[in-house]
Amino acid sequence: MGVINLAPDETAVAHQNVAGERPSIVNDFSIVAATANGTGSQTANMAILRALFKMGIPVNGKNIFPSNIQGLPTWYHIRVSHEGYVARRHTSELLIAFNPATVDQDIQMLPPGGVCIYNEDWRTVPQRNDITTYGIPVNQFIRDTGFKGKQKDYVANMVYVGAVAQLLGIPLQKIEDALDYHFNGRRKLIDANMAIVRDAFEWTAENIQKKDPYTVAEMNATAGQLMITGNEAGALGSIFGGVSFVAWYPITPSTSLVDGLNDYLPQLRRDPETGEKTYAVVQSEDELAAIGMLLGAGWAGARAMTATSGPGISLMSEFAGLGYFAEIPAVIWDIQRVGPSTGLPTRTGQGDVLSTYYLGHGDTKNVILLPATVGECFTFGTTSFDLAETLQTPVFVLSDLDLGMNNWMTEPFAYPTEPLKRGKVLTAEEVQQKGFARYKDVDGDGIGYRTLPGNEHPLGAWFARGTGHNEKAVYSEKSEDWVQNMARLQHKFDTARQLVPAPVVDHNDAANIGIIAYGSTKFAIDEARDRLAADGLATSFLRLRALPVNETVAEFVAQHDRVYVIELNRDGQVHNILQTEMPELATKLISLAHLDGMPLTARWVVEAILNREEK
């Protein structure tokens, strides 16, 4: 390997400005808005994000928020990238410093040549002579509007929207379009907000001399796309996947998935005339009850799901084992956050994979889906139910806070082309024709036939139990029955390997090294691979979309000298699983695990790989 620039994204361009030359930097920078939680800054940030999106510029917004309702600092990161990169960056060139509590450290984070837009009414703002600062007299705008109390903060946030629009060159019409979207066309709200934005926009034009190079220009890269969070996408996907029963207990960052269900289900699955619903949502007393309800509902034949996060997953452990062993379908979304215990409840991570894979005592093993994009959150809404019912087992969908709660651009979701796969369920007539033994491996795939309560055949009933049982679901303590049943369950798990979504492989013939990753780290890795390639280091990439893995993964590993397993946890959990799954290839697998609560960056990936490659 030759000499490699360790951090190509961060400061190379900005440095040029300090030298005096000021070529414009168009559609390639990041903005961070530093505000206090609970001040309504979300509306302001979403207005900027969506306005840029409506200008046709690829964007991504990430909310770095506290576990708090009001007062603690919040940072909203917007990446603008004409190349279409949407991963987080370490550096933001444009700081909207609207939180006096963090302004000192926020300003220190700016790169040389960076820009700080701040509230001029504060007495002291730290000085740096290598950045550009613009003060906005926020109080003046607030006085003009006559707003009082808490609303003042809200107004202040709309002030920065106007100033940023002016400084970057966002047409006011685009801001208005964005607010129209945000407020669902409610004119009064749009007008009230636009009045402030327009004032600040005009004031900035008259009073501020732009000295920085950052601007935006309309593109055509987002046409036909939409923006949505992974949780909303998962909710929609589940509805088009035929969910009929939801039980849940609130927990960040999964709550917005159930909010999505509660928003869309009444529109899509309620008879407007009779008021009858083809679904039920129960807010349970805890996650343990939630999964219990799913297993009851799945056993009775409903498509049952829940959404939770790490602490809820821990509570579900005993039931997960029952679901695996009694072979009951259910779908459990885990929007991962950072922990053990309460951990960092508003930060992102991938730390639940190993424990969820084996969730439940004894020899429990679970099927896991690993969506990386909002599109996959949507399609896995159907896939998860199809798999749960086909395999007759709980299926876990492991998303994360970054994917679940942040807004991502996407192509519109395609309507499912295949009918729902309801699995092997016998009617009374089929029981009559074929006979029925619940746990008998009739087809050689390890998957038995089940009947649902209500089956009229006198021999159609079976007794679900967590205790040892024979093929007919009758209690048994016989060693042979135990061994046979567990072997069949293992065989069923092997069947699952071929049924779960296959990995996405980008094989590069020139590459000696491979990367394996899963979930939302995809975006940082895509970008990092481009940079590494530009610097002469070719890589292949296999993105896992499910566990258990199949032979594709072993083949991929065998084809490369070294394979880096990149993930957002401390211990390299999937690295661990892969080493166990393919012991003969274990030494080729190198763990690059990292967890600080933030979404992965391309810079971290590039540095981590190069550090290892140089060894």
Binding site: L226, M227, I228, L236, I239, F240, G241, G242, V243, S244, F245, A247, L268, R269, R270, T274, G275, K277, T278, A280, V282, S284, E285, D286, L288, A289, I291, G292, M293, L295, G296, A297, G298, W299, A300, G301, A302, A304, F319, L322, P412, F413, Y415, P416, P419, L420, T451, L452, P453, G454, N455, E456, P458, G460, A461, W462, F463, A464, R465, G466
Partner: protein, 346 residues
Amino acid sequence: MMSTGKTARVNLIGLSKTDYNGGASTLCQGCGHNSIANQIIQVAYELNIQPHQMIKLSGIGCSSKSPAYFLGRSHGFNSLHGRMPSIATGALMANHTLNAIGVSGDGDTASIGMGQFKHMMRRNVRMVYIVENNGVYGLTKGQFSATADEGQELKYAGSNELPPIDICMEAIMAGCGFVARSFSGDAKQVRELLKAALSHRGTAVLDIISPCVAFNNHDSSTKSYTYGKDHEEQLHDIGWVAPQEEIVIDEYAPGEMKVVEMHDGSHLQLRKLDEDYDPTSKMGALHRLLWAQEKQEFITGLIYYDGERHNLAEASHLPATGLANLPEAKLRPSADSLQKIMSSLM
């Protein structure tokens, strides 16, 4: 049906009593739980229940094993310790057209499962919830349960220093609309209460004192046979009349009887032994339970009744067909509706 040469006695739907049997019991000889299972079989037969329209559910314990010993033609789910309410709630939301009998123990309900128990009452899921209450953990060999009497002595567990939890009081406080207590040795009362409970529209709790012959059958225990026989005070003499049958009031002297009409049109006739007892008064019911607790007596009969509350399925506006039986066309919205949502997000 088996043909045995002689015509077997059958009920109105043509099933014989053996059609309601389950597997052979593995519980101890003389365990109160066995007699309750037998009454369930008898009642299901007498009420002409279609076995496939019934589900039976339980937690873990000796008591929770018993669904394997009755209604072998019904789907069953022997779940986790203390978690039967959540399984039942899910199953009955997935298919609210089913009838359900849950069997639990005092450990299963009043200790590990207290949270789920109370929340199920609050939701008013339509099912019969039987607690086979013996004051001990039978299956784990004789530890005290939370319903054990204060000061009670047990061979292995020593002396219990803590006050008991009264399952009926907990049920009433949590909003249950059918709360009854009985004694496994009183087959007739158990049957009458079971019949009434099965026609209740919400959760019906039957707290049935069911002596554990292995670990809690000392005469001094309020959950023993002898104590039960001696100290049982019946609130009512109970008669249950199926909706098809006519109510014959003549049997009872007027003024001594209260008729409770159930939602399916059946009637529960309570013959008042306790002159002023009114099962529709929540305050009265709690008062009577506290009074009995103080006296170390247990009252039996229908302690509290309120048939007005909506059950969870009703409150959820479910269609006539169970969710589990809806066809794909009802479950997956149209391509057009997805298209509309996609456009609205642009």
